[in-house]
Symmetry: C3
Subunit: 358 residues, 3 copies
């Protein structure tokens, strides 16, 4: 185990992701994360523990007694949701995850209500807010801010954990968790995730969810990855490099229908035109062949599933919404459960919940 108090910021931040991992774990040594900063922190063993914990929380919550038990687990903790980038969906999901465990919350949802206008640094703001709370869940357009705050707080006289709910273009680790949870859960009683084929389709260049999920899938056995995208939005080379280095089977195609025929899971994504370098850049791309509709639905196997990180535009036709294979709404709800599991683990309550009488 490594401690963030024993390494300077410059030295820590220069480490490759793999080497940062041990610094982010709970000092109690139970293998659960303390700070959650990037998807690469999670290996298969940890992912499976979190999925099991999420399943358990979901089950306990079915009865009123169980739900009230859960609401007592972390009723002595308070969390701050610092969302300087607007996102109702991610905000509400984390909020609900906290509420399930009885955590009371405060929030900062935009810069206008913040004191930052008085010339305070963002680090000072977060440090101040942290003094009232036991956990910071933060989303920010600033790449690396969550990581910097994690180091700062661990080196303060009142360390508290940071949960990164999206920072800049690069990391959104709990999105990757909920994607994995949805896959694991969908194939749980059908032989598991190993050996499956996952198709990624859409804007594979700029979606951080694809990057994270692709990485985490390499931890499972023999999961084939097929990438389907317009030429301009192809999966980046560094993602492919990792697959190559790990000896993972992958394919790059430009025909969605052929891929759907072979797919166990189709992961659709929207065009992320908010990252366009020049206005209207994405609009020039022909995306018409990268949409999932009635025809694709016919080609998908009966155990296949359709996923989407949402929000969607027209990548998936609404006529698919009530098909039992459409998993995107349940995927949202899975996000709540897996985030609850992660937070419970962060505070050391995995065993208490797994072993409780409900």
């Amino acid at each position: 185990m490594a401690k963030l108090t024993e390494i300077g910021w410059d030295e820590y931040s220069a480490l490759p992701l793999e080497s940062k991992k041990p610094y982010l774990m709970r000092l109690e040594g139970d293998g659960m994360p303390y700070h959650t900063l990037f998807a690469q922190q999670f290996d298969r063993a940890l992912l499976e523990r979190l999925c099991a914990l999420a399943n358990r929380i979901r089950f306990i919550n079915k009865s009123k007694e169980g739900a009230l038990y859960l609401k007592n687990v972390l009723a002595h903790k308070r969390a701050m949701l610092y969302f300087s980038q607007p996102s109702s969906r991610t905000f509400l999901s984390h909020l609900a995850a906290c509420q399930l465990l009885g955590i009371t919350t405060g929030s900062v949802r935009d810069a206008a209500t913040s004191s930052e206008f008085k010339g305070e640094s963002r680090e000072d703001s977060i440090r101040t807010f942290s003094s009232y709370f036991d956990l910071i869940i933060m989303r920010s357009p600033e790449q690396g801010l969550a990581e910097k705050m994690a180091w700062e707080l661990s080196n303060s006289d009142r360390p508290i954990p940071i949960l990164n709910a999206g920072s800049g273009k690069d990391q959104h680790p709990t999105q990757a968790l909920l994607d994995i949870y949805t896959l694991v859960r969908s194939f749980e009683e059908k032989g598991g995730l190993d050996g499956r084929t996952v198709v990624f389709c859409g804007d594979l260049l700029r979606g951080r969810t694809v990057r994270s999920l692709s990485y985490l899938l390499t931890d499972f056995d023999d999961v084939r990855q097929i990438f389907v995208a317009p030429e301009e939005l192809r999966v980046p080379d560094d993602v492919i490099a990792i697959l190559k280095a790990k000896g993972i089977r992958y394919e790059i195609r430009d025909d969605l229908r052929s891929a759907v025929r072979e797919a166990d899971a189709v992961y659709m994504t929207r065009i992320q035109d908010e990252w366009d370098a020049s206005a209207g850049e994405s609009a020039k791309i022909d995306t018409s062949r990268f949409k999932f509709g009635a025809e694709e639905l016919k080609l998908l196997g009966k155990d296949g599933i359709i996923m989407h990180p949402l929000p969607r535009r027209d990548e998936i036709a609404t006529c698919c919404d009530r098909d039992p294979r459409a998993m995107y709404w349940r995927q949202m709800r899975n996000g709540m459960w897996i985030r609850s599991a992660l937070i419970a683990g962060t505070f050391g309550y995995e065993r208490a919940i797994m072993d409780c009488g409900y």
Copy 2:
């Protein structure tokens, strides 16, 4: 009992209000609403049950023990307040109603913090948010949105109830509930609401509260309605048509004072100039004779009451505020109690609360 899952949207939405009613009730058949969408859902029997439940909740809440009992009733539920139209008063009232019963809440209070900017449809947004919660309380400028969402959610694989907290110009059913509750409660120990005279004054054309309350009053016996308004803002014909069809006594006048002399309740409303077709349209109307002040106070009977849905401008002079007959602040608080009653009923907790030992 009718089920929303057994009727398509087009067929359902074409039904007259009266025929929609059975589709909105709890499937458990206890006569409580599941979705609350419009005032016409409530008949006298249901109104009286809700008023009795509100009285009970108010009473139980007086002691600390009682308040803590109530906070446990729905402590296993979570509600989302989706307010895409700003309204602190309605928001806080519903929030407090939830809190009294132990419901934890999340909220979306404006479009800026919503993901909708990413091109998502409003239906998708609400569907997503619904996946984290057990009840959606929504206010929207879009007429019919609450009803559409109710149908959508009832037809999803995770149905949850919708409570309409105001949609467009047309419906604001819990406002009507709190108005009825205030009337019932004010005359509870003075012989009841039957046979009373209710005076409506102000902008009777555009205020949805007048429309709803007028309708619900027809369910009581022999309640006379007097409408006092500037010519341009007279009560609409369809409201009058209902009164005629039901054989209700009503009068249209333009003299507030004569009406006050005969009134048991005077319901004042403000000029709703936010609905002006052209800017300044309302400003041209002479409203000077449609205000309640010191003179009117003298004319009102000693058991008479003054109501107002608030916010007010100058329709009621502040010199009336401390008169015991001024009911508008208590009317606000009544809103909290009756909304608690409605929510408790929605989740099937009417009997538990009525019969509890507090």
Copy 3:
């Protein structure tokens, strides 16, 4: 004891602060405040009771059982945070203070979500909101608004307490409380606050914290006050007049370093340029010599402490942040504890907490 119901607003508001004090106490006569409006309400005895209560709450909260006990103390109460002036820090601190005691909260954080756009008076808005809650915590740019609302609510048929979280330029009483608590706590085991030297530095003209703290310190024995500021931002005459009248030792200097050498506590403040009469006025002032950095740190005694109400700009160099004498982050957290103590006292729970078994 005096009652706000027995004095008209005009007569009350014309009273000097000292004479207003008895009107703001709890009618139960336990010496705790009912409305908290200005720092001058607190005398030494009350300050010491609140500090003891804050210490007790902090201690009880250390164990999960204790924290759950505290969350039950005011679980039957609900508070409204009405912040028409944005301030995340003050907002979150009061929110956390409520949450520690189990109070559920609602909030209005800006004018855009308020009904005020419909032409309602601010008094009506607050009166409406008050009907749903048991306590109003309010922050407003309008000087005197909290006081007016306190009188209004005490004279309504449903009186509830007002806690002033900052009104205009003049009062921010809980900031003064947390400053005193930080001083009392820092010297608690080192012989106490009596006889100490407190240095104020920065914008002493426009910071309301300096004014309040200077006043409260006069209640302790022989606390010397040294004021260090640029000539344009010197401590105002009325503050000095009070010190003179009470025979307090004070000095006005323009050399921070000499003052630090003699200081037990150095209270740094930022330039409050939001009050500049003309744009850029403050920028013309040479403030370079009124900053605390590495050199000043060397001059400060080993038991000395550095305080700052935050947010800071560059008045304190970040290199001081991890020095054990830097008290400003703990000062923030102290704010949460002392506000909890105040709220518990306001509702009459001082003895219950002091005497509980935790």
